[in-house]
Symmetry: C2
Subunit: 358 residues, 2 copies
């Protein structure tokens, strides 16, 4: 069910190698609201990290987390973790609206911050984060899981870098998700807490566009949101889309929704279409409908022919090792800070300017 | 090559049945510039029609057409065909800019008109056509081949009608085409003759949106065009996209392009994604990349599961028989006149308002 509902979707790279010695990189966790924290934690462990402490106000969440990671010590309050001189980073998958303020406290305590996406629910939070990063030089890393924990996406990165499809001129992203309303945390239906569908799941899509198309900035030229099918949850937006124009002429369209039908074998039929001047790539990230109930299907067409590659177990999630090395060495190879912030900014702008339809 | 380059793409339904007696429905052809005329003619013949005459100023095109349809008589001028009291309809795949004026002459001569898409290259032509139809009561039928000659699209129509995916809230269309620049007619590179990429191949996409989503009207909320990869052909737009909002709340995004790489086994990897509140449909119309070099692949997911159906030979092209019966009986079942015009209108608006990127 965890796979099918997606709430604890925590893909783990098959071939991760530690990038450091045991004890070199120690982190703790504050805020367990979203199951993404399991993938974030596991992939840091697989890359050589060590998880030290955990705090969440809900003891049941802490207990479940400790079952998954028995070495972790539970803390009786957030301050205990902020004050721990033995850790370099604090990770969170708290309610989205709380992530920005938590990050300010984490950097204020001299530690790097690693947050589930969406990192912010307001542009004010983002502005404060930019200032804090500038002041401290610490990392405000964002786990955009739909690329960073997708081996299909990692393989697309390699294909693009090899020149297989020429200049990338467009990225289309489809990000459908299963709603599973009865099992969701209350924040999921409060727009002031999750920030709106474009802010929340849309941020994955913007990040992928900026990354695959190599844009540093973009303009939101159209966006919309709707609640088509969940009248009992007026705070939910179950549909959103946006059209962006990148600073290098590449464009982006994405649709996100909470309309995944019950019959799908997984939580969402996530797709990415990357159009180049010499070819194109399609990612069927989590399922190949009616063909394969498995992940990481990469299709592409170039001058030579039509190609297929199953990237599962072949690419890994190099982001996590790079992130650890960035912390240990002061490098910034995992993801440029401004890229992480820009994706959030554009998702927030798309949300703010969205027309509402019904 | 005809299949791979798409210029003479003329799919023929496997199971067509005549809807009338021989001689009941007789039509002629004026204007052979685009190979679509072969599919239009063949499918009318398969539905019981009889092709009588042909005129094109280029004798080579006429000769080739007569080889395909030996019963047809070549005429020495257009007037000979307009004046033929023995035909009910004139079909054309002339240069797009000439189709509107030809239609005025055809209706003026008391005959129904059947044109390849795009039917118009200016809103003025469309306004004149609307007036002429109102005055005469004759048909101005438009062959939007990417739906009307697609059994996958016909099967999607059935699925939607059955309620399989609930209320349709979005349609995404991808319409890539292979450019084959050396073999193209000169008009292909003259925007004043083909009307721009959104007007031309975009009209297919708008038509499918209006049809599948059940909209009577829509607003173009964003559109753009570009020439990314053909600097030697400045009159070509090789990329275009548009975002429409329908009058019933359903939305549409489509991308059309002339960037199909050489390695694709057919002329374009046309896709349609139809999102409903209870499920979704994906059409892989002309190829299932790296899986099947055949057409009419229908995938859908509903409450019950993930499904696949190969519609080739299963659905036919009912449009052509209905069109003949509309002519013979005065009904309007093949396609509402206003739907055909509205699709063209919105494509023209998308073209007119498009921002140009590079």
């Amino acid at each position: 069910m965890a796979q099918k509902d997606g709430q604890n979707y925590a893909p783990r790279a098959a071939n991760a190698q530690p990038v450091c010695q045991k004890g070199d990189f120690r982190f703790s966790v504050v805020g367990l609201t979203h199951g993404h924290i399991y993938g974030m934690t596991q992939n840091l462990l697989d890359a050589g990290g060590e998880v030290v402490g955990v705090f969440d106000p809900d003891p049941a969440k802490v207990e479940k987390f400790r079952q998954a990671f028995p070495a972790v010590q539970s803390a009786d309050c957030e301050e205990r973790i902020l004050d721990d001189a033995g850790i370099q980073m604090i990770a969170t998958a708290d309610i989205p609206a709380f992530r920005g303020p938590l990050g300010l406290r984490v950097l204020g305590a001299g530690k790097h911050f690693f947050t589930d996406k969406a990192p912010f629910t307001t542009l004010k939070q983002l502005a404060e984060a930019r200032r804090k990063v500038e002041q401290t030089g610490l990392l405000w890393a964002v786990c955009y899981t739909e690329r960073l924990q997708s081996e299909a996406a990692g393989y697309a990165e390699q294909l693009i870098a090899s020149g297989a499809i020429g200049r990338v001129v467009q990225v289309i992203g489809l990000g459908p998700h299963r709603v599973n309303a009865p099992t969701r945390e209350p924040y999921f239906f409060k727009i002031e807490e999750y920030g709106g569908i474009l802010c929340d799941v849309g941020s994955h899509q913007v990040e992928q566009f900026l990354f695959f198309a190599g844009c540093k900035d973009a303009e939101v030229v159209h966006s919309k949101v709707a609640n088509f099918h969940h009248p009992d949850h007026p705070g939910l937006e179950d549909f959103g889309d946006a059209n962006l124009l990148g600073d290098n002429g590449a464009s982006n369209y994405f649709r996100v929704d909470w309309l995944t039908p019950e019959g799908l074998s997984t939580w969402g039929d996530g797709r990415t279409f990357i159009l180049g001047t010499e070819g194109y790539i399609e990612l069927r990230k989590y399922v190949d409908v009616a063909r394969e109930a498995t992940a990481d299907h990469v299709y592409w067409v170039d001058a030579e022919g039509e190609h297929y590659f199953n990237a599962a177990g072949q690419v890994g999630f190099p982001y996590f090792g790079r992130l650890i090395l960035d912390v240990l060495s002061g490098t910034r190879n995992a993801m440029p800070q401004e890229h992480a912030f820009k994706a959030a900014e554009l998702a927030l702008q798309a949300q703010a300017h969205a027309i509402r339809v019904k």
